[in-house]
Assembly symmetry: C2
Homo-oligomer: 343 residues x 2
Amino acid sequence: MVDVEHRIRSFFAGRLDDAAHYGSEYEHLWQAASRASAGGKRLRPMLVLVAHGGVHGSDAAQAVELAVAFELLHTAFLLHDDVIDGDEVRRGVPNVVGEFGLDARRRAISEARAEQWGRTAAILAGDLLIHYSQSLVARLDVDRDTRIALLDVLDRGVFVTAAGELADVSYSVGVTEPRLTDALDMTERKTAAYSFEAPLIAGAILGGADRECIRALGEYGRLLGVAFQLGDDLLGTFGAEGVTGKSVVNDLREGKETPLVSFARATDEWARVDDLFGRPDLSPKEADRLRSALELCGARAFVESLVADHVRDAVAALDVAAVPAGLASQLEGFAGTCIGRAS
Amino acid sequence: MVDVEHRIRSFFAGRLDDAAHYGSEYEHLWQAASRASAGGKRLRPMLVLVAHGGVHGSDAAQAVELAVAFELLHTAFLLHDDVIDGDEVRRGVPNVVGEFGLDARRRAISEARAEQWGRTAAILAGDLLIHYSQSLVARLDVDRDTRIALLDVLDRGVFVTAAGELADVSYSVGVTEPRLTDALDMTERKTAAYSFEAPLIAGAILGGADRECIRALGEYGRLLGVAFQLGDDLLGTFGAEGVTGKSVVNDLREGKETPLVSFARATDEWARVDDLFGRPDLSPKEADRLRSALELCGARAFVESLVADHVRDAVAALDVAAVPAGLASQLEGFAGTCIGRAS
């Protein structure tokens, strides 16, 4: 993972050098993109490297390139997510939208134009990273069949993620009212596909794994990705803020249509609190009422059992001869940390 | 060019088939992306094919793939441009932002959420096309050196275009006040780089052209691209609306900081009309006053002469032994049409 950090830094350093020839605003844009990429957990690169190493892949340098490609794509999605949601803050500090917006406001530029400036910066930064992510994959020094197989994985990852993101927004703006199965599909598409399934499959392909092993890793990734996101949804409502650093009212204030909420909606309990859900000014006490309702109606227990089921099934998917024992055991250990998160 | 149209249609048809498995909204997104790509002039694909054929390239099928990659990238930039500018209409009909926004408003969804829905659709559609554009290039069946050379061209094209777009917006929101040279740089970066220079260079590389020929075509593309955009700026202010189908008040109402305006700003004439420039409610009579000022101060004549100079220099750049005579003559003819546009 040291190599991944090093390569991410060298990628941004190279672009920053070039950007200096195109004016200070463009340099600023690349600095902001670099900061947006810093400090992440590097989950996706880690999965690429674990899969590649676990199938005894021998091309460590190419694996790092592939790992970095996934991280750039992830940063791009975060940047565009913030534009879509109109957020100006991420992890407590101004994001690219917020940073450029603040800069414009300091220059006494009108609010509408300051917003446009912030939006522009984040859209362009994301566009650049989507492009460069794919460029890194295209440049891999591998045989044509491997390259095409990797491109297929990336194509599918991006295609499915966009479907999931569109569905997520369609629920939150109210274009679609999700049933529980819709919310679960959305979770799988928006998170599991590009964050778990694709990095594992891609790492294994690069490492020369056979079809059966790739299929098993994909299945594990899909299931674990759903468990991970469901666990995240639980933490976002019932977590210990001091421990996780994650707000436990934001999801309720935003009216995030998670499977947790979809389950609750189908119960009588929800009707009594529905008017609170999605209120931007939700008080701590009102948030408690929503949490109680989610507990009483069985939604919390249901999602907790879903997490456990998905983790169990994910681990079971690894139990085929084609998956090397060392890799299976490593991924089983990783799956355990997801349960810990959720409880 | 028939092959290009056919391939663009088959690309979107393939994605539409897949999208059908991910819900009607996602199908709708791909239909909208396909419509956004339809009806363009296919300038960039044409330049790829002209350059490839002109250097006696023999791989027509790969040239079509490369040509389509440039067109998808162009569509992506248009889609994101509209989000950046907050436009809901393009060529007189609702664009993707507008179409999705209208759909939400019809369902009685609040204005802020309808805007979010429109913005989301256009951002995701653009993201998908940026990704797939690069995926097509990555999949080309060419030797590694050629692939890397093409990827370098695309990387630079996207990098420089983003710099130009950022500069353009920085002028229109007022973060930067452009001097004439800044406005000319912006024109070269935002339009010439990916619309003229990159397609010509890429087509020539794929066709196996030598370094000197590629250099000459790049120079021609850069100069002609600037001439083309300057001509477009002139048409956008002085054109015959009935003939061009292009509004001659929009640029003045938006306060578009073109080189035409940058030149005028440095003259005394402009101070008398500066308060009119950028007024969203500019009347036809006020637009006439702005036009008169642009004529009187010499800005129009200056930009017209710039166009002529750039076209002449572009054609002169082709006058090297490395550029095949047939290609030079074809590109000279094409350059002539740019002069026609501007006058």
